[in-house]
Symmetry: C2
Subunit: 110 residues, 2 copies
């Protein structure tokens, strides 16, 4: 179980989930644009992992150049729903966390 | 917001949350035992980050040697609750993910 949690409880997995949840069928370049800060390598690696875990469906069209599209599977959508509570928590407690960080920084400065 | 999600959507944060949620006030060595596979460095770093974010309270007792204890703050407990949905999801879909992984591995072997 911990290994599954370790795989899904991951920043880039979460941001890809959200981007696909909101945009449906998306190409690699578009996804890369939708997730600021993600490297090509990380996007490739995380998408591959999500495909392996059955969260993402990858479709390759035999065109020149080949067209590759990604979308969430039903399992992927269900994980997105499970994470809703975490997104809501982050929105609700954003100010509290920022205040805690400032307090911690002041304490470090002594 | 993404930076907060990035900080909390993390395997070790989740496992520390669960260990403290289940065991209350815990010392560093005990925590290290409760979370198989975590390095001393990762445990120190993640606990410090969680303390910075206001999720964990660290208490140092001026004894020889000094005694250091960790416990969740109310904010920490609320994050644990927000993640309940993810744990439940992982339990519910464990077999489905294992099957997807096997299918993916077969496809890779071609």
């Amino acid at each position: 179980m911990n290994d599954i949690i370790g795989r899904v409880a991951d920043k880039w997995t979460l941001l890809i989930l959200e981007a696909l949840d909101e945009n449906g069928v998306v190409r690699f370049k578009e996804l890369s644009r939708l997730i600021p800060g993600i490297s090509q390598k990380m996007l490739t690696q995380t998408l591959r992992q999500m495909e392996c875990d059955g969260l993402v469906k990858r479709t390759v069209y035999a065109e020149v150049p080949p067209r590759v599209e990604y979308e969430l599977t039903p399992l992927g959508f269900s994980l997105g729903e499970a994470f809703c509570g975490v997104w809501t928590w982050a929105e609700k407690h954003y100010a509290e966390i920022e205040a805690a960080r400032k307090k911690f920084a002041r304490r470090q400065r002594g």
